[in-house]
């Protein structure tokens, strides 16, 4: 608790960014993000783009899993739906990127509503397995609906453009991704200041109590599925336009699990945590890759162990975080801040 933290107006109490310091830091962050692509190399920009997509996806999953308590093992499939929608709309109908982006979100959201519909009767583990079914079935559809998705060959996309402005390079697309990620984060942050968001949290904490308080469980669970898969669809569309190709291999069950890992490592039920988790889970494999690359001089065979090691470390991260830090990086960040705020005192 800050000393002297009191509000004199309702507006101040409801403000999103409460203090000047927060605003200053956010401004600096925005500035850094804007300058970044002009100073960083191509590889770093690519990494930032991938991370940005992951942020959008992870925030979306956190709305459903972290805030509403509905575990989804089908997040990657919804991203796939978004990616395929954008690819098909772009290549068949020639729709511009600015139109395919929301449309892919909408189509994915519709899929999400269908998958969420059984939540009327099922919950908990049974629902979780139903989303697993959605992942498997959608995966099958991506591979076997040849006439639409071109099967395992996938679809190639032309470089996206906005109002005739080409976004072919990673640098140009970076701004699209960062803007969208910022929008997604802000929107989700704001959801939880509204009636709908509070309902989500109530459902997560105890669904029966929530129902007794007059929350229509089915409707709000569907909302959560809709919001979550809308964001997943947009993330998929971004990914498709970033990689310029969509194949079923981009959206396996493994990716769904990776997104779950992101929000767990970052912090369930925390928007900031989703961002941390997305960054962490994208950057750690890269660090591992480069550190193994450094060791390559000692033993040329060592790269053979890269993928197994990545798998092991991925699993270890999930287990270690769940056992030792169940609230994730967001909680570590909070403690760190508290430490500096209170220093030199402990409490």
């Amino acid at each position: 608790m800050r000393i002297g933290d009191f509000k004199e107006t309702y507006a101040a109490d409801e403000a999103v960014f409460r203090t000047g310091t927060v605003r200053l830091w956010l401004g600096l962050l925005g500035l850094a993000l804007a300058v970044f692509p002009f100073v960083a190399g191509e590889y770093l920009i690519y990494m930032a783009n991938i991370t940005g997509v992951a942020v959008v996806g992870a925030v979306g999953l956190n709305v459903l899993t972290g805030f509403t308590g509905q575990i989804s093992l089908g997040h990657a499939a919804f991203m796939g739906v978004g990616a395929y929608t954008s690819a098909i709309l772009t290549t068949r109908l020639g729709l511009p990127f600015l139109l395919t982006l929301p449309l892919s979100g909408v189509v994915a959201a519709l899929c999400g509503l269908i998958v969420g519909a059984p939540s009327m009767r099922m919950k908990g583990l049974y629902l979780c397995i139903a989303t697993l079914a959605a992942q498997v079935i959608l995966d099958f559809t991506f591979v076997h609906w040849e006439s639409m998705t071109h099967g395992i060959r996938g679809i190639n996309l032309p470089p996206p453009s906005i109002f005739g402005l080409s976004l072919a390079g990673g640098q140009a697309f970076y701004f699209v991704i960062v803007t969208l990620a910022a929008l997604a984060v802000t929107a989700c942050r704001n959801i939880f200041r509204t009636r709908v968001g509070r309902a989500f949290i109530a459902i997560r904490d105890r669904d029966i109590s929530a129902e007794l308080m007059g929350i229509n469980l089915f409707r709000y669970k569907l909302y959560a599925f809709g919001v979550s898969s809308f964001l997943a669809g947009m993330a998929g569309c971004l990914l498709a336009n970033l990689l310029k190709v969509v194949t079923p291999e981009h959206f396996p069950l493994q990716l769904s699990i990776q997104y779950l890992a992101m929000i767990i490592v970052g912090g369930l039920g925390s928007i900031l945590g989703s961002i941390f988790g997305a960054i962490f889970m994208t950057v750690v494999p890269e660090i591992l890759r480069s550190s193994l690359g450094l060791l390559q001089g000692l033993d040329p065979q060592i790269m053979r162990y890269l993928f197994p090691l990545q798998t092991v470390i991925f699993g270890l991260l999930i287990v270690v975080f769940l056992v030792f830090e169940p609230h994730g990086l967001a909680e570590m960040w909070r403690r760190l801040k508290a430490y500096f705020r209170l220093w030199p005192f402990e409490y």
Partner: protein, 294 residues
């Protein structure tokens, strides 16, 4: 008609193997209420251990089976003690994710230890297919089915009559009451994990013997979810019935629909069936309906 019978019989045989693996899953769920996403990886490790003992160390077949079961029990014991014990009382998602993380660790370790090459099993059983008069069954599948059914029967008997089995059922029924009757509930958790791991490892040996082993063998474990959800997560009989239903239906669907979809129906059919049944019976065919109170 011939094709139908052929598909039906091999479906029943596959279903028997599924039933065994699902049993391992249900044993763990029933006692500890943990969904074990690492079941497939337990299978994979069982298969690799069996391969190592048989093909690389030249141990005869019966001791190999005993060794594999022992190792699987130790694995289940270690997993429960080192990881899952810390997760008691945590929310469902955390527990699910821990087992997913565990499966990732096991896959990675397997690839490091045994490399990710595809290996085919040394022949365990006579090669000649089994002639049932009206259909032929592949020998690996037929013997696999026989072993699975024997194992299922043994597990069911343990669960029904052995003292430990009765204690496990008591724990599953009501942990508090079991505690107060002097049952060591934590030991029961460990016991359940050991038994579950043994069942999964045996299933893995059979599956590996049918189709060869590689680190993706664990993917078969995914199909166990339709089986157990269909039967009801906490019903042993349900696991067996679900195994047969899924085995038969996926074989029929694969046989008749594959030409129309260009393959792969076998992988997805169980999930479609599962969703359809869940829509009608949200707790599976034999699952216990939870009555929730505030």
């Amino acid at each position: 008609m011939d094709i139908f019978l052929q598909l039906l019989v091999s479906g029943v045989a596959t279903g028997g193997v599924y039933a065994l693996i699902a049993l391992g899953f249900v044993l763990i769920y029933k006692a500890t209420h943990i969904i074990n996403f690492a079941t497939g990886e337990f299978m994979m490790i069982g298969a690799y251990l069996c391969y190592t003992f048989l093909a690389l160390s030249g141990i005869p077949i019966i001791p190999t089976f005993i060794l594999v079961m022992l190792c699987a029990a130790v694995l289940g014991f270690l997993v429960e003690r080192t990881i899952l014990r810390h997760m008691l009382g945590q929310p469902v998602i955390s527990i699910i994710m821990v087992t997913i993380g565990l499966s990732s660790i096991l896959v990675g370790l397997t690839e490091i230890i045994w490399s990710s090459q595809f290996e085919s099993f040394p022949p365990l059983f006579p090669r000649a297919p089994l002639d049932l008069g009206f259909v032929l069954v592949r020998s690996t599948l037929a013997y696999g089915f026989a072993i699975s059914m024997a194992a299922v029967a043994v597990f069911a008997l343990i669960f029904k009559y052995a003292k430990a089995g009765v204690a496990m059922r008591a724990t599953a029924g009501d942990q508090m009451a079991a505690f107060s009757m002097g049952i060591n509930v934590k030991t029961m958790f460990t016991f359940a994990w050991a038994l579950g791991a043994i069942a999964a490892a045996l299933g893995g040996v059979i599956v590996g013997n049918i189709g060869g082993i590689s680190p993706v063998l664990g993917a078969v474990g995914l199909k166990i979810f339709p089986v157990v959800i269909l039967g009801g997560l906490d019903s042993i009989g349900g696991a067996v019935v679900g195994g047969f239903i899924i085995g038969v239906l996926e074989n029929l669907a694969g046989g008749y629909l594959d030409p129309h979809f260009g393959g792969g129906v076998k992988e997805v059919a169980p999930f479609v069936i599962m969703v359809l049944i869940l829509l009608v019976k949200p707790h599976g065919l034999f699952g216990k309906e939870d009555i929730e109170r505030l």
